[in-house]
């Protein structure tokens, strides 16, 4: 019988077995990728590092997790009612203002959220990490803002 070479290979016993193996391993793999997604670290997208004064003051930089806050508050609460500008490090926040009830202190006052004497809840960043929007498109397209912790602070 004369037949096409490739068809002949696919119809051979080993060919079929290999093909089946590939298909039957690929389907659960695809399901797993869809269900589990990629790296979970990207869930920290939009974390804001604020290091305007922290390094100089001997504190770890503050890390603000957007994902944590937006479960509880719409954007407008902080960016309109409280008045945070849409600019990482652009609000010139310091602890005096916070204790006075401005910025973070509008909620972190023991009434809406925990008080500011839990320093390390916010000041949890690696020393030397520059002010940034973590995982931002601009950060990805331009240059990595994350420097090794060993690099001296500005």
């Amino acid at each position: 019988m004369k037949c096409n070479k490739s068809v002949g290979l696919a119809r051979s016993g080993i060919g079929v077995a290999v093909f089946r193996l590939a298909v039957f391993l690929a389907i659960p793999a695809l399901v797993a990728v869809i269900v589990l997604g990629g790296s979970p670290a990207r869930a920290e997208y939009a974390d804001i590092v604020i290091n305007n004064y922290s390094d100089a003051a001997g504190m770890r930089p503050a890390v603000f997790p957007h994902w944590f806050h937006r479960i509880r508050f719409r954007c407008k609460v902080c960016h309109a009612d409280i008045g945070f500008k849409f600019k990482a490090g652009g609000n010139e926040i310091n602890m005096l203002k916070i204790i006075n009830g401005e910025f973070c202190g509008a909620c972190h006052n023991g009434e809406i959220a925990w008080t500011v004497d839990n320093c390390d809840f916010c000041h949890s960043g690696k020393p030397g990490t520059p002010t940034q929007v973590h995982g931002s498109t601009v950060q990805k397209l331009q240059k990595p803002a994350t420097q090794p912790a060993t690099q001296p602070a500005k």
């Binding site: 089946r20 193996l21 039957f24 391993l25 389907i27 659960p28 793999a29 399901v31 797993a32 990728v33 589990l36 997604g37 990629g38 790296s39 979970p40 670290a41 990207r42 869930a43 920290e44 997208y45 939009a46 974390d47 590092v49 770890r60 890390v63 997790p65 957007h66 994902w67 944590f68 937006r70 479960i71 509880r72 719409r74 954007c75 407008k76 609460v77 960016h79 309109a80 009612d81 409280i82 849409f86 909620c107 809406i112 839990n118 390390d120 809840f121 000041h123 949890s124 960043g125 690696k126 020393p127 990490t129 929007v133 973590h134 995982g135 931002s136 498109t137 601009v138 397209l141 912790a149």
Partner: protein, 184 residues
């Protein structure tokens, strides 16, 4: 015999990939994220996003959460105000932008935006209320201006072209600019 063999293959494949998933989930996302200091006194007390975001509608980018859907489906009920007299004012009105070069036209849904934001967050700066007067350019957006203030920083990233550029110019028969307001 044959179905048994196939079932076994399925099981092995599934278990292999499940194992990988579990291994990834068991890793502490804060240890090597380039942000958190594992030496910090409260490092272990901080909630992990893997825990907080589990069960929300999944996305492939950003926080891996479809936040607009999470809100609409009632999975989250975030506060609308801290100043008593301010309110969320939902406006269900789309704007369609042409002048998009070779790319598809842009549909901007006010509804999804006003469910989260205040009018004053976008108007009059950076977006003037009158259509086509703000000088929106993709290059400026990629620099973090206009839509790029949030998209690419906290809302879905700028690599998701088709989520905004969603209207094929060839088949579009309507008018550009503000569409009619939909009443709930």
């Amino acid at each position: 015999m044959k179905p048994l063999f196939l079932a076994l293959l399925w099981l092995i494949g599934g278990l292999l990939f499940l194992h990988r998933g579990v291994a990834v989930a068991a890793e502490d996302v804060f240890v090597n994220d380039g942000l958190h200091d594992p030496q910090g006194p409260s490092f272990h007390e901080l909630q992990r996003p893997t825990e907080a975001l589990a069960g929300f509608p999944p996305d492939t980018v950003g926080n891996k959460v479809r936040w607009v859907n999470a809100l609409r489906d009632g999975l989250i009920n975030p506060r609308t105000n801290i100043v008593p007299e301010t309110k969320i004012q939902v406006l269900d009105m789309d704007i369609i932008f042409g002048n998009t070069g070779d790319n598809a036209f842009v549909r901007f849904p006010h509804r999804a935006h006003t469910e989260w934001l205040d009018c004053a967050n976008c108007h009059p700066d950076p977006f003037k209320e009158k259509f086509n007067t703000s000088g929106i350019k993709m290059s400026a957006i990629l620099e973090g201006k206009f839509c790029g203030k949030c998209h690419g920083a906290v809302a879905f990233p700028l690599t998701e072209c088709a989520r905004c550029h969603s209207i094929k110019p060839d088949s579009f028969r309507g008018q550009l600019g503000a569409q009619s307001v939909k009443k709930p």
